[in-house]
Amino acid sequence: MPSSQHPPAGALALDPTALRSDVGDARPIRVGPGEVRATLEGLQADGFALLLDIGGVDYPGREPRFDVVYHLVKLSPAARTLEAVGRPERVRVLCGVTEREPVVPSVADLWPAADWAEREVFDLFGIQFSGHPDLRRIQMPDDWVGHPLRKDYPLRGPAQERSPRPSFALKSNVAAGTPVAGKTAAALQRQIAAARGQAPPEKPA
């Protein structure tokens, strides 16, 4: 295992999916918006009948900026026993989408499940799905401005001041080198003595 304390690899805009995908949870397939529909149609014909989820990820500064991620599992409606289901294969299709032209062909006609999932990606990331029957906001109110899960959308909302990620590293309200004194020091002495199995130190008269 790599050390969990290593510094972050590069800038914020890096693409972790390109760096490491050896977790072994699903077979990743990376495509562009031009091929995504054909890829998904092919997978559906290959038995990946259950479209589990469509999600979005924003990598500002990367080109293309967004990923639309499709999760599929190979499951047949004819499977009637545990053996027939087995340990089904999982696939993850990652489709890069640019900020200039955030359009992906819809798959709502292939899987009715994609209807709400695509509406949610549209609502929260502003990615359009061409050919979707009813592409409107789903979580946010109809008249909302902006797409909240984009990284440049402020955490506390558009009306508020931009709130940067707080930095906790440089905070201390105690001047360095101040020795502990008084009750704190006495309590610490007792604690140390108890942990060493010794009698507690005498209280000063």
Binding site: S4, T17, D22, V23, P112
Partner: protein, 405 residues
Amino acid sequence: MSTIVPRALEVVEQTPGSMVLSMGPQHPSTHGVLQVMTQIEGETVTKAEPEIGYLHTGIEKSAENLFWTQASTVIERMDYLSPLSNALCYILAVERLLGITDRIPPRARHARVLLAELHRIASHCVWLGTGGIDLGAISGFFYAFDLRERILDLTELSGGARMHPNYLRIGGLRDDLPSGFLDKLDAVIAMYEPRMRELRGLLQKNPILQDRMIDVGILSAEEAIAWGTTGPVLRATGVPYDVRRATPYSGYEEYEFDVITRTEGDAYARFLVRLDEMDEAMRIVRQARKHLETPGPVMIDDTKIAPPPKETIALSMEALIHHFKLVSESFRVPPGDVYQPVESPRGELAYYVVSNGDNRPWRVRTRPPSMYNLQVLKKIAPGELIADMVVMIGSLDPVFGEVDR
């Protein structure tokens, strides 16, 4: 970018032969804040369009701005009827990214399974009790909620809180189970079977409930899969897809249980699948209880992830530094992405977690089973009576904390 956004009312139209009825978002039988725009001709539903989002709280956005360990506190609040499934799923995903899945102590794994299955029973108790109330069977509610109360007592005993204990941690559990926990658990195990016999007598064999549920909201296996349903809704159509068997996690391979299926695909089949599933969950609880008799560590032995024991902090400089670093800036997770599914009471719950190597998650995408299960209402409602909408919504068992997040 500007898009023409039609209003919800324009989706379901009023025609000369039909009228539009807005059900909710304050309708008591919608189990939260669901609005269903229904087009009806006489008493028959011709179109139903659920409108969600009334409970959207931006949990995924909040999680991106918290440390890896802190994020599980907000994630637990998604599915508030079985918070431990959410926490377990997210924590398993992070453990996979850290590469420590194999190093989780067995006692922690068994305790996680035990609590997750207890929460499955508690969650189904809410569905069973409130689902009965929707159809006029008030008595069942009190029997079901009494059982749930006992399980919440156990949650409180182990984690300190009844609803959102934040007891599961990346690397194991916060603390060991307290002394006396197993005795209290035995009391719940002992009361379970007689209580279920009463509940089945009150509800399952109730002729009025049977009349209301049989042949209502029928779904075929092909439709169930195309609409992305999982969990009891899918298994009621005959497909035995259960993540605990299909993609085992947290040591479910070691447990014996059956995956319950029915073939009718109607509301009554979903009702029976959930009832039988509670019995299977109790079977797993009994097995997990045996494993928990052996004492052992409950947290991974890695001070880069687990805070050092309190008593070492006054003595060891390194322990103090580790503690300080973990509290003030948490740990970093190697870059990568992972899709981790678990079987929540509602179906396949999954988190797609992306890390860029920082001490906060880059993206936590939920795969909400409730949302996909609820969406199928658009398919099953047309052709049914308006009075049966309540039955169908209840049989899909949505939790709006999870649908809207």
